[in-house]
Symmetry: C2
């Protein structure tokens, strides 16, 4: 990653975390244990890539509106929810996440289930409360709900679990990636476009960019699981193979997987050509996403 | 229950189930197992009291608009989600619900967790997709999200689990009831008011009605757990006591609990006085709710 861009990502994460922290302060009484678990899961150290996508996309259209920050927090709530539930003993049974005990290890299983549930509700609560324009709020909620639901991230996790120990299938792994990861990356870019008031064709270009970045990101993640060590990723590695997961390298080999990730990153960069130098951060993110795989 | 009203409730449930069934047909590909589990949980036999509240409330303001049916389906999605997650082994560990195996017994635990998650997302997806007026959609989503989230139903389940085996406390049991049950009953009535275009004072009266009916309903539920048999309730009874749950009869005794439920039902009926005979169904529902406790 270019040092300037790495610095900008860190600065973004710091600003985002401050806003996230404030929004995780409930306006009505909340059971302390649930509140603690939601904050633990949400404020865990992370790169905040999805919020970055929302804000960087909105910025193409002028000064970043508050609505973009609201949407950025909402999408990170959904992402945090998915990590908490995916880590549960009945799912991927992980003990370590972002270098710390997973939510159900730090608290307990019922608290983790409820913290995940609360994070989903919170995403929709925040958008419906803080986005002033009702039509934008409604479109944002629809975007998040579809990317989250049974034909999005949640459906992707079901496919992922169901196809463990199945013979490797490129078609299957692509379906899993599209639903489990790509849907939320696309949604992040569409949310930024909505916040920025983008015209339909600009929104479509950004949606395409999000799709391609999401693909590159997930293939790189599969490759990292094979090649990185625990201290680099903050979670247990080489788990996919042990669990018989459908992964891109397992289906097409590592070299080919790297080539597909590179192609997706290049496709992402091509999709935002029209935005000129305003989109340099989005280009740098696409390169970073793919370079993680090396 | 008056035979005419019982018949109207059954007719309502039949009409509602037909609409619910159609809306549970996804417009995009969904993993079959997840789809099956969502349908199993959602279309289980039930009285459909929350949807009934939405529609009966909207009807006070004229012919029932489509938005009321959409909101009715959304709130039942949220209710079904809560049953699926509450029944999980890590939570209340129930094998039987509405006379059938619980979702995780019929499928498995990860599928049940994901089916619950999908039902929440679906609630927001449907409102944002099908409610035409963006401001009404946004207000409905806010109403559902708050009633569902960490200071609503999900927070109530946390309190409920946390206070098992604590000394009986009326204050505590009332907090649990308000969050776990009453919030969604109130929301149902507020959704009907929103769909019907109610003025603020009418909306407030209906919110109060929902609150009172919710209280009567939950106390009656606690009493049923003590006094009914499994074939009557379709779920295991006398579980609350075994689990050391905070229940109203445990805190104040059965007689006093009955009196409080009756008072709440009467308060509900008083709250809707202004609507005259148009509100007879809501009155009958309040009486039914309380009479369950006998």
């Amino acid at each position: 990653m270019h040092p300037d861009f790495a610095e900008r990502m860190r600065a973004f994460a710091t600003e985002f975390n401050g806003r996230f922290d404030r929004l995780l302060t409930p306006t009505e009484p909340v059971a302390k244990r649930l509140h603690d678990a939601v904050r633990y899961a949400a404020l865990a150290p992370g790169k905040r890539i999805r919020p970055f996508l929302v804000v960087a996309t909105a910025k193409l259209f002028g000064p970043v509106p508050d609505d973009a920050w609201t949407a950025a927090v909402a999408i990170e709530c959904v992402h945090a929810f998915s990590l908490v539930h995916d880590d549960l003993p009945a799912m991927d049974n992980d003990d370590l996440r972002r270098g710390r005990p997973t939510c159900h290890r730090r608290f307990d299983e019922p608290t983790a289930i409820l913290a995940g549930d609360a994070l989903v509700a919170l995403a929709f609560d925040l958008i419906s409360r803080d986005v002033c324009d009702a039509a934008i709020a409604r479109d944002m909620i629809r975007t998040v709900a579809r990317a989250t639901g049974w034909s999005g991230m949640i459906g992707g996790q079901m496919l992922d679990l169901q196809s463990e120990h199945e013979p490797p299938s490129r078609e299957l792994v692509e379906s899993i990636h599209e639903q489990k990861t790509v849907a939320l990356f696309r949604a992040a870019c569409e949310l930024g476009a909505l916040a920025g008031g983008a015209e339909p064709d600009a929104r479509q270009a950004l949606s395409r960019y999000g799709q391609m970045v999401g693909r590159a990101f997930q293939i790189a993640d599969d490759l990292l699981d094979v090649n990185a060590c625990e201290t680099e990723t903050g979670k247990k590695t080489r788990k996919d193979q042990a669990a018989g997961k459908q992964t891109y390298p397992r289906c097409v080999g590592e070299e080919r997987a790297r080539a597909v990730a590179e192609g997706a990153a290049r496709g992402a960069i091509a999709a935002i050509d029209r935005f000129g130098s305003d989109a340099d951060d989005l280009r740098a993110l696409a390169s970073f996403t793919w370079n993680r795989a090396h």
